[in-house]
């Protein structure tokens, strides 16, 4: 298979970027999208050119490191699939493919297709945890959790933090990511004691990082490689409302 690639190249965060065109040949259908880029990079290196920088790690769809916008869609057009899981057999031989980084104000480009998603860590720091020091936990079966509750919590907890939801949202909102964590912990009895401050703290930090608001487009759910449901966002709003009524001030008193 052969492809014409239009790839975003940007030397550094403070340098202007532009699309550059490449032809890549001898691609086999079993290759993943990233292996196709590896293959292109090998050809570039052999010509003494600088390879295209992109992030990836596990290459089996679980670490959340990779993330490219392929022909306008975060992680490409396959449903429930990360970029690394996407196979070239889903593309037409000879096709022109446009490759861009995840774009959002809160995700500055580091180089080419690599972005900084540190904002996600800072949101988790503001309450995306259950306080339980090592050694202080009761027996694991002390608090029964109904199977359905656990399943629902697991559905939300499956988020891999890739940021595709932000890249797909016209508002660059992080609502799906934030709501998945809030829902995961709000559903479980263990998350109860910090439920209010978690919702308030994480949402406040999301706003501070420069993510936009949710206006129910649903693009996030459509591109999510783990098919996290948008109903989590409804739950997040309910959690926020509930928390704001009960505890009007966040921990910082702001």
């Amino acid at each position: 298979m052969n492809f014409k690639l239009k790839i975003w190249r940007q030397a550094a965060a403070d340098k202007p970027g532009a699309f550059k065109e490449y032809s890549v040949s001898d691609v086999i259908p079993e290759m993943s999208f990233l292996e196709m880029l590896d293959h292109l990079n090998e050809q570039l290196v052999k010509r003494g050119e600088e390879p295209v920088a992109f992030d990836s790690d596990c290459r089996e769809g679980i670490c959340g490191t990779c993330g490219l916008v392929i022909d306008g869609l975060a992680h490409g057009s396959r449903q429930g699939c990360t970029t690394c899981e996407l196979r070239m057999r889903h593309f037409k031989d000879g096709a022109a493919i446009t490759v861009e980084p995840f774009r959002a104000r809160a995700f500055p480009v580091i180089k080419d297709l690599v972005v900084d998603r540190g904002a996600f860590d800072r949101i988790i720091q503001r309450g995306g945890y259950i306080t339980t020091n090592a050694g202080s936990a009761p027996d694991a079966n002390a608090i029964p959790v109904p199977k359905q509750v656990q399943e629902d919590a697991m559905d939300a907890a499956a988020c891999i933090g890739c940021g595709a939801c932000v890249a797909a949202c016209p508002n660059a909102s992080a609502s799906l990511f934030v709501s998945a964590k809030i829902a995961h912990m709000a559903l479980l009895p263990q998350g109860g004691p910090e439920r209010e401050q978690r919702a308030l703290g994480m949402i406040e930090q999301m706003d501070r990082e420069g993510f936009g608001n949710c206006s129910n487009h649903g693009e996030c759910e459509a591109v999510c490689p783990k098919e996290i449901s948008i109903t989590n966002i409804a739950r997040m709003r309910r959690e926020f409302y509930r928390a704001a009524r009960q505890a009007p001030a966040t921990r910082d008193g702001k």
Binding site: A12, I28, E30, M31, L34, D38, H39, E42, V45, G48, P51, A53, D55, S56, D57, C58, R59, E60, G61, I62, C63, G64, T65, R78, R87, I110, K111, D116, R117, G118, F120, D121, I124, Q125, Y129, I130, T132, N133, A134, G135, A137, P138, D139, A140, N141, P144, V145, P146, K147, Q150, A153, M154, A157, A158, I160, G161, M185, L188, Q190, G191
Partner: protein
């Protein structure tokens, strides 16, 4: 059985200049850990905040250690090569985590988990370490549930368990096929809480490139900022290494593409002994190799063997599609050879059996290097919905990769490098042979002997981080007097290390050969797979050593590292491959010296007529810890004898 003389026996009778002290507490096995905790020196709460601890790696071991130490009040500097700690490769573990909870009332106990793990490791691990692991296993589950890890549950709300290879009880806790992810998110959240509390400072996108040793003690690290290329120094009172294993020495493995041995190897070069480098694990249930362009092999959880049946056609000439081969013409070889454990034999046994089948021409698929894993019977017995509940995401993953639907046609699987039991030598307190340098998780060698059982890696990583290092590090700090002579990065040792690291980077960037970094890694991987992989021979290993040396020389003459000293993946990989070209040779050396077969180490010369591993307890019941002797010197081996006072080593039989 006692092997008290470390210089006795074997052709590898080299000079010993270090005595290894494993510092195992005295007393009965089941009291050793309690005794250690009771007698350990403590650091008072007011003094803990005076200490700075460096933790490299944020997987289950590093993340849990960093969080737990910060909870205790230490100042922690946490480093990872990923853009965020939540992506460390523990995230990819699928099947589950073992714990001796006996929630199933099926006869499990601390003792039984200890026995299974020691036997599973083919009696090449320390009794005391394995027993402690088994003891702490139950606390791990408590801790994780308390953090909000959504483990699978029964309808009544209690926790569910599944069975796993190498055990006859159901003691494995799981969160669908994403147990590693959920456990990692648990410890990541604990870590983030400590960042918010100001006790942990995170340094993502940093690669540790050197250990700084001052007056014989580990006092800091030098690392490269992967975003801007700057070399940075950090000083501390102790350094914890939790940087994972070295399976990517094979190039194709189930590990993430950024997994590497560089941090471990650089510590080895600074004096930390490297134990049992030849003990590597080849996992039986992986998607077979599809082509040369492949960047990694994908593992599918061993839990698939709970309900899947492994088979090949009885006849070499049977090229019919699998569904057209009648039951009577299939060889369910694991069930035939190991009736007691069937498809649930340990990984090394299952992998070797599959290889034997393929080597004898019975393999299936395009390449002939695959066997079937069939769910037809399970679907008949349980229904498609139950099978989907249990393995849905794995089936989907397989389908995405191969384009085949495992609900209607059997999966094809083949073994792939997956885990390394070998690693830096540590004592009972997880301290390496360099005082102050502690090594946790897969990066150390301590608990799995020559073969790790499924669902035990997560257990060990979290045991080390949550429940072992908080006690043993405190004891080290309280007895080592590091507070009295605080070291800063102005110390000449840091300056010297920075210069070395910068020179090494310059040397790589100055190359202008014809071959790419990937070319060398691929070629090294082929050598390792062919001769230092699932099956090893004296001639093959000797040949591998020659080939690796030649390849290493060629690397420095003919590699081409393009780009500059900024964000440069080629440069990162070049450094890692350079280290693998040294480590690979040591793995072959160790495999050559160990003239027996045990666990994942199979020497063709040492097998029973039925093809089973022939262990040699009289001569090889020891840990081989290798000492680096400079670029021009040969590594020398130091032996730590293994004694078995509680469980008599027996031939490992799963028949």
């Amino acid at each position: 059985m006692s092997h008290r003389d470390p210089v006795r026996d074997s052709q590898a009778n080299r000079m010993i200049d270090i005595a290894l002290d494993s510092r195992i507490p005295a007393g009965p096995l089941d009291q050793k850990w309690d005794r250690f905790k009771a007698e350990a020196k403590l650091v008072s709460p007011a003094n803990k905040r005076k200490y700075t601890i460096i933790v490299v790696g944020t997987g289950l071991a590093g993340g849990s250690a960093a969080a737990s130490l910060a909870e205790l009040g230490y100042n922690v500097l946490s480093f990872c090569i990923q853009d965020t700690p939540r992506r460390a490769h523990s995230v990819a573990a699928q099947g589950g985590i073992n714990a001796a909870k006996n929630y199933q009332n099926d006869g499990d106990s601390v003792w039984r988990l200890f026995v299974d793990t020691l036997k599973g490791g083919d009696f090449r691990s320390r009794e005391a370490n394995v027993y402690r692991l088994s003891q702490t296993s139950a606390n791990i589950i408590d801790q994780c549930v308390s953090q909000g890890v959504p483990f699978a549950r029964e309808y009544g709300g209690t926790l569910a368990n599944r069975s796993f290879g190498g055990a006859q009880v159901s003691r494995t806790f799981y969160a669908r096929g994403q147990t590693g992810q959920q456990l990692l998110l648990g410890c990541y959240s604990a870590l983030m809480r400590q960042v918010d509390a100001g006790k942990v400072t995170m340094f993502p996108r940093r690669e540790m490139l050197d250990l700084v040793v001052v007056d014989g003690k580990a006092r800091g690290i030098v690392c490269r900022n992967l975003v801007n290329g700057k070399v940075e120094s950090y000083a501390a009172d102790a350094v914890l290494l939790a940087t994972g294993g070295y399976s990517t020495v094979f190039f194709l493995s189930t590990n993430a593409v950024n997994c590497n041995a560089t941090a471990v190897w650089r510590c080895h070069k600074r004096g930390a002994l490297f134990a049992n480098p030849c003990f590597t694990q080849i996992h039986p249930t992986c998607v077979p190799l599809l082509g040369e362009s492949q960047s990694k092999l994908t593992l599918m959880s061993e839990s698939l063997r709970n309900d899947g049946r492994v088979w090949v056609p009885k006849s070499k000439d049977d090229k019919r599609p699998p569904n057209q081969i009648p039951d009577g013409e299939r060889d369910y070889f694991l069930e035939r050879m190991y009736p007691a454990f069937g498809n649930l034999v340990p990984r090394d046994i299952a992998s070797r059996a599959a290889k034997r089948m393929c080597d004898s021409g019975l393999g299936v698929g395009k390449t002939g290097y695959a066997v079937y894993l069939d769910f037809a019977d399970a679907i008949k017995r349980l229904g498609k919905d139950t099978v989907r509940d249990r393995y849905g995401n794995l089936f989907q993953m397989y389908d995405e990769i191969t384009g085949e639907d495992p609900y209607s046609t059997p999966m094809r699987i083949y073994p792939a490098p997956h885990y390394t039991m070998g690693g830096l030598w540590v004592d009972y307190g997880l301290m390496s042979s360099i005082p102050g340098l502690h090594v946790l998780g897969e990066a150390n060698f301590s608990d799995h002997g020559a073969n790790r059982l499924g669902a035990s890696a997560l257990m060990q990583g979290l045991a080390d981080g949550y429940f072992v290092i908080p006690y043993t590090l405190g004891h080290y700090l309280a007895t080592s007097e590091v507070l009295k002579d605080k070291v800063t990065t102005d110390h000449p040792a840091f300056k010297q290390s920075v210069e070395q690291v910068e020179a090494a980077t310059k040397k790589l960037l100055a190359t202008s050969g014809k071959a790419t970094v990937r070319d060398f890694h691929w070629r090294l991987g082929r050598i390792m797979w062919d001769d230092v992989g699932m099956s090893r021979t004296e001639a093959g290993l000797k040949g591998a050593i020659e080939q690796i040396r030649a390849l290493r020389a060629e690397f420095w003459e003919n590699v081409n590292v393009v780009g500059g000293n900024d964000f440069n993946k080629e440069l990162e990989f070049a450094g890692r491959v350079a280290d693998f070209l040294e480590l690979g040779e040591l793995m072959a050396r160790d495999a050559l010296d160990r003239r027996e077969s045990c666990g994942g180490h199979f020497r063709e010369e040492f097998q029973y007529p039925d093809g089973e591993a022939m262990r040699d307890d009289d001569n090889f019941a020891y840990t081989a810890a290798w000492k680096y002797n400079g670029a021009d010197g040969e590594e020398t081996v130091v032996k730590e004898p293994l004694t078995f006072d509680n469980l008599k080593p027996a031939k490992r039989s799963y028949k």
